[in-house]
Structures are given as C-alpha cells and as structure tokens.
Symmetry: C3
Subunit: 348 residues, 3 copies
Amino acid sequence: MFPKNAWYVACTPDEIDGGKPLGRTVCNEKIVFYRGEGGRVAAVEDFCPHRGAPLSLGRVCNGQLVCGYHGLAMGCEGKTISMPGQRVQGFPTIRAYPAVERHGFVWVWPGDAEQADPAAIHHLEWADRPDWAYGGGLYHVQADYRLMVDNLMDLTHETYVHAGSIGQKEIDEAPVITKADGEHVVTSRFMDNVLAPPFWRANLRGAGLPDDQPVDRWQVCRFVPPSHVMIEVGVALAGHGGLQADAKYKASSIVVDFITPETETSMWYFWGMARNFNVADAALTAEIRDGQARVFAEDTQMLEAQQRNLSAHPKRRLLMLNIDAGGVQARRIIDRLAARERPTHVVA
Amino acid sequence: MFPKNAWYVACTPDEIDGGKPLGRTVCNEKIVFYRGEGGRVAAVEDFCPHRGAPLSLGRVCNGQLVCGYHGLAMGCEGKTISMPGQRVQGFPTIRAYPAVERHGFVWVWPGDAEQADPAAIHHLEWADRPDWAYGGGLYHVQADYRLMVDNLMDLTHETYVHAGSIGQKEIDEAPVITKADGEHVVTSRFMDNVLAPPFWRANLRGAGLPDDQPVDRWQVCRFVPPSHVMIEVGVALAGHGGLQADAKYKASSIVVDFITPETETSMWYFWGMARNFNVADAALTAEIRDGQARVFAEDTQMLEAQQRNLSAHPKRRLLMLNIDAGGVQARRIIDRLAARERPTHVVA
Amino acid sequence: MFPKNAWYVACTPDEIDGGKPLGRTVCNEKIVFYRGEGGRVAAVEDFCPHRGAPLSLGRVCNGQLVCGYHGLAMGCEGKTISMPGQRVQGFPTIRAYPAVERHGFVWVWPGDAEQADPAAIHHLEWADRPDWAYGGGLYHVQADYRLMVDNLMDLTHETYVHAGSIGQKEIDEAPVITKADGEHVVTSRFMDNVLAPPFWRANLRGAGLPDDQPVDRWQVCRFVPPSHVMIEVGVALAGHGGLQADAKYKASSIVVDFITPETETSMWYFWGMARNFNVADAALTAEIRDGQARVFAEDTQMLEAQQRNLSAHPKRRLLMLNIDAGGVQARRIIDRLAARERPTHVVA
C-alpha cells in the first residue's frame, strides 16, 4: 500500500550516467530511467512496444533510448521516434513518467502524470549549499517500506540493533515526544549529560572537539510524505545548549532517508548523512558513510526477518506503544494520501 | 501430515548454548528455543508481540529472552516481563511450548500443551550410560519426513544407495520380517556367514577384531512414534550367535534417527550412532560420524529427488511391497495418532 | 503451448554414454534417457513405479535401467523386468517414449507413441557427410521456446544484440523476404558489397581467404516444424555470385538450432554450426563454437528478460512488423500442429 501520486527518489544521477539506462521498479511500475535530450532525465515504461524486451537492456544514443533487441528508438514521452526499416506512426505509445533531477537525486512520480508538480518535490535545504557535505548509499530491502518508516521514527531500537555504534542505554530512558500537524510528524528525544557512543565520538574528533567529555545528545526525526525521514542528530559538549549550542561546541548532522516502495514487500532504501562541519574532508565523508552502511545493514537484516514473520502471520495485530507514535502518525498520513487516490463510487 | 501432540527432538543442547537463542520451525510452528532461568530450556513463539520481530534475533539476559529490536523481555511462559519505558501488563501473551532437555537432546511438544507429559519422552536406554558413546549430526532435508521413515524401515536400499559403504548384495537376498504391535514396528533382517562391507570392516578393527573373516550381520529396525527409528546393527564373527553373540566376538551399535517434521515437505533429520565398544576412543567416534554423514547425505539426495517427483505427480499411487511393510505399518501408527487430534464432528 | 506429436532433439549422444542415464523434461514430460540393450537409446518416464524415485538417479546394467533406490530393473518399454526378492508381473507399466539416435542427436516423441514415425525425423543432409564438420552446445533458457524461434527468424537483432561479433548496420538496411508454404518458412536477407563483421572475417581466414575485402553476405533462415531453425549464412568475395559463388570464393555454413520446449516458459536450446570448409581443422571448430557460445549467450540474456516482461504483462499485445513475418508464419504452423492434437468436441 503506497500513494502513487507523489515524488519518490528513484535513483542517484550517477546510476544513469554514461549512456546506460537503468531499469528499476517503483511502486510496482517497471520503469527505465535515462538521460534524454540535453542530458535531461527521462522515465518511461521498461517495455519495448515492439516485442516486449526491457528497454533498460538498450542504450542511449543522441538522447534517444534505443532498444537493445531490434533498434527501436523511444522518445522521452513514450512515443516511438524511429525504427530501422519501419514506419512507426501507428506504434502504441508506452507510458512516460514525470521525472526530475534535483538536490542530487532523480525523482519520479509513478502515479497520474497530470497531477505531477515539480514544485512539490521535497525541498532539501542543505543539498545545494557549499557549507554542507553529503554522503550516502542505497540498499534493496525485502520488506514493506512502512517498516522502515516505523524504524526511523522510533530510535529506541538503536540501543538493541546498533549496540556497537550509535546505541546507548540512555536512549531507552529518555522520554520521546511526538507531534503531528497533519502534514508532517516530528518525534524528538533529548539526552543530557551522557557519554557519546562510538559513532559520535568519531564525529566529535572529526569536528575537532574532545571525545571524552559529557555531551548533550539529540534526535529529532521528521517524517515528510510520502515516505521520507530526515533526522537531526548530534551531540554538543554538555551545558552549551544542546541542539541550540553554538556550532563550535557541537557535531551535528542530518540523517537522510528516502524510502521508495518497490513492491508491497520490498523497497529501495536511499540513506545518507548531510553535515555542516568539516565539509571539505572527503575521508570523513567516506568514514561516516561506511559507518552508516554498517548501521543500516543491521536494520535491513532485522526488517527482512520482521517482514517474513508478518507475512507468515498476516492477521496478527501488532502493539502500538508510545514509542511507536511516530510511525503510527506517519502511517496515518500515508493512509490518507493513498485513500485520496482510490476511485470514489458515487451512488446516485 | 504429522501428529502435533508428541515429543519431537528440536535441537541439540549445544545449539542454544552461549546465550544465543535458536529459531527453528517444528510441525509448522515457528519456535525460538533458548535457555531460560537456571539454564532450563524454554520454547516460545518466534514472534515478538510488540512489532513481530523474530525473538530468535535477540539474546538471553539473566534467563530472559530480550528482543533484538526494542528490548522487550519475554518470559518462558510467553508473558512479557518488561520493556524499557513501558507498562507491559496488557501485552498479549505469545504461545509457549513444553520443552525438556533429556538424553542429550532438546525435546519439544508442538501441540496442545495440556497433554504434554515429559514421562512420555522416548527413553533412550544408552544415552546416560558411561559404557556407551554417541556421535551424530543434523541434516535439513527437503522432503516429507515419512519418506525418511520409509527409508529407514527398509534397508534394502543400502545395496543401491550405499553401495560403497554399508551396502552388500546379501541384504537383498535375506528375507525381511516385519512385526507391529500397534505401538511399535520392528523390521529385521539377518545375513549369516557373509563378508562385512567397508563400514563394518572398519568397525571390526575399531572393536579390535579381525576384519577379513566371515561374519553374521543383523539389522533390527524399530519404529517408535511419532517418527523415530532406532536400528540395532552389527556384525559378529560367524558362528558365534550373531546378534546374541558374546560382546568379545562382535561390533554392534544402534543407528539413531530422530525425524522431526519442519513443514509438510521438509524435515530436520537428527542422525547418529550409539555404540558400546571402545567408547573412550574419540577418534573412532569422529570416524563413524564422518562415515554416517556420507551415507545419510546419499539418502538425503535420493529423498529430495523422490519428493520432487511425488510433488509433481500428487495423485500417483505407489507400490507397497513386502520390503515396504515396515514403512507401511509405521505410517498406520502415524495416521492413527494424527486422526486422534482432529476434531470429531458429532451429528445429533 | 507446443505440439507433442513431433520429434524433438532431447540430448546429444555423449550425454547418455558411460552407463549414466539422463533425466530431462521435454514438453512437460519428465523423461529419463539411456542406452538400453545393444546401446539403443531408450526413453521412459523418470518415475520408478515402486516408490516414485527418479530412475535417472540409477544406472544402466546390461541394457536395463536399474533404480538407484531399491534396485528395480526397468525395461525400455516401461515394463518392470525384475526386482530383488519380488514378483513383478503385477507392477504398473510406466510410459515409454519413442526415441531414436540419428544425425548425431537423440530424438524423442513426447506425444502419442502410436503416431511416431522415425521417417518423419528432420533430415539433416550435412550430418553424416565427411565433407562437413559440426560443433555446437546446449543452453537451458528460461523463456518460451517460441521467443527463440522469433529471434532466429528475424536476424535484424544481430545489429543490436551482437554488435561486437556478427552484427553490422547493413543488416538493418537490407530488405527481408519471407516465404511460407504451409510446411516451412524461409526468411532471406542479402547484403552485397559490405565489409565482413569480426566473426566472418575470422571465418574467411579459416577458409584461407582474405578478410579485408568487400564481400556479399547472405542469411537464409528456414523454419522446420516443430521448432527448428536452420540458417544458411556466409560471405563470398564481392562480385562472385554471393550464395551461388564457387566454393573457392566463399566461407559458408549452416547455423543449426533445435529449440526444444521444456515447460511453457523454458527450453533446451541446442545450437551449433555445420560447415563444409576446412572440415578437418578441429581448432577452427572449437573457435567457431566458442564464438557462437558468446553470441547465443547474448540472445539468452535478452530472451529471459523479455520473458520476465511478458509474464508480468500477459495481456499486452505485441507488434508484428514486416521483420517479424518469419516468426509470425512459424507460429502459425506451430498453432496448426498443436490444434490438431486437441480433442474436438462434436455437438450433435
């Protein structure tokens, strides 16, 4: 279950560079992404109208997507442009999907193209600023994307799933505050005067701060529809104001999570971290990315096992505790968006 | 098809040592096994009542099974004991399964717990005696567990499946005698004055006997419900009484087979050998186990291929020859036990 | 969808040499192939009438197929010949399939045995002649066998799928001529005065001809029911008559394709090349085979992806262009053969 009239992250620009198209299923739609005329990103059905070969096995020539089977050249709008020795006017059109490259990602709208407005793409304030650095990766996870939303909107799990990196007992003990305004959900947790766990000690050193002193730690998880979770995380030397502390006392960043449904029980999980300290240090970027890769691999393993259990017991009801409030509120927004898309049957 | 009101071997104790729980499906029940308070074995559903994560991904702390996702602590009876920051009184109970450690194995009762009586656990007279040694292993086999019962209750197949180890032409030629008393089934075969095959020549040497003289060989297969087959096997120097010969003339042992259904078409096959000669010789134990591992891998390959054939031809009737009498009688007992568990519909 | 009353290539003789039977599914029939009495090929159901074990796990002794489980000896006609300690007269007969070794292949008739006439086996004029050499291989492809027929009856795809070996732009540009006479379909393409692509330059050298001069190239694809495609291919030094040129000016051969359905969406693809130049040169045979193996692996990858797309969109109609005429005509013949096999319901 997922809204289709929404902008999802489909891939990163490097995945379609070099004239090689990319086949990827988003919200059950088999789509091929590529750079069309002038390098503009394009997305059409991954199905050649001639004999059904995947267009993603072809290549891009002069902005046209050329089928790798018999050379049909497809245009960005889903209309066949040409085919050797054939008149193509009568060829059926395949579906084209609105696609936009922005903020370092390729976005796709898998639903009704008429309703797609690029202005509605999630604005990432840090993405195009020189005082911020970003690194990240992609995992293909065999689980309902909403399990990842749940996971990220309740960081209690860090104590158990990530005991060796970002987990610490104080997370469990700090109360969680969840606020929803119908458009977004924010779940916050503040831990004052604690010792930083390994991942954050490394970041303190990366920010040129001592790593052996008490810190104030924060986690502010923000759900943005359809399925993004941006988490302000950080530590400041204790007593300087925590999240509000002056930059010189803190190491802070934004954990970036775009969670794109592939099918009902699988997802493309784009994860990363944006930071505004020590931004020119590429080695630090790589170190953070490697650390996140390990952390999110732990989540992936847990969620895939959870999905297998849920699929085996489809009727079993789960608990919704206070720590789950963030996920519960986020799912309500998702449900509302999806409900809007269902045809309403009007009985006269 | 399997009786669920029965004691099955679930695992060996070493599989749950070291605080690591074990997830294993028995008779279609997804169960987690672990050592609870005081090291006592426990078995509950492998499904956290909070969000459905498998409890087998967690760890055991102070006799409690702690979920690896959000720290819920589960008790041996399926009641949640605690969870950080939560009141757990209202949490739903998950299913607990009677489980007992005995005779070097962990036994589970996957059916109605009310009817579980540990006194009914298969008594293994050799298991706790110092004058016996045991070695064995576990295979996960993709076939109906009853195919393994058939296999072990008719050793004619040794001539063909195990030609290089325990098979010999005389097995085919010796008549087979099957007796059933409603509770057990015994199939016997005696081969007098034959040459021992390679596996038994090695055992003769292991027992300090010559390996190049004629022997009397025996195989007495005993089916014990729900699905165990204990096989008295051995060779004695010819003319000293065979199975009844004095210990100094023979190498004899018990082939031990616990065949635990996982699903309708897969099983956990616990195999091994108990012997009462040269019991302190660990190298001999290892040698026998390696030999058995090779032999049972041959069976496994055959049974998985047989299962694929039967699944492709579900309506085809098989033959039941005199050599199949042991398996046929054993299946009758299984059928009777399973029939007792089905609800009877009384029409007034 | 496939006709079953037809001779299909089942395997090559070397696959059943050495007393080892071969289990292979043809047209949904699970069959075991072996050499029976006097080395004559035989084919029966791969299902032992005793307990359903695959007979292909057994071995051949004195022309009998002996089951590897309990020693049942099966005859070429599907009648059990003997079993240790058993009277076998009443054993049910399993199905036997007409099978013939001819032209370097083993042929099977998976349908009604009454209608099987070995005289109808596809005659391969080159197969038993000393002035021809043959080399080939086998691919197991996860796609409807008709997709391979389509592929081979329209070589336009060479330009795109095989750009590095046999493809060249001129294929696209040359008109294609398709003729069908109700029994066979022939699709031809002639390209005069072109440069030979890499595969053919190598063959020119193999034939002792210069590889840097313009050539006349031809492709004459002949569909022979039920699913064979024989393709006369070659190049001649330009201006000497092309396909009709004297042997000393050309390198020509026959691409041999036997496309045997395994299931509705998988096939056994026997491919190879027969040539009548430099026939004693085994290194050349190997070189050609290696080249073909690479080419047909490219087709295999494309067809499997195409099949996945078609399976995901079962109702979508494909285009039938002039270049597809060969495949379309071939499918009509296949449809007609299959229709004959369906029972006709006569309404009085």
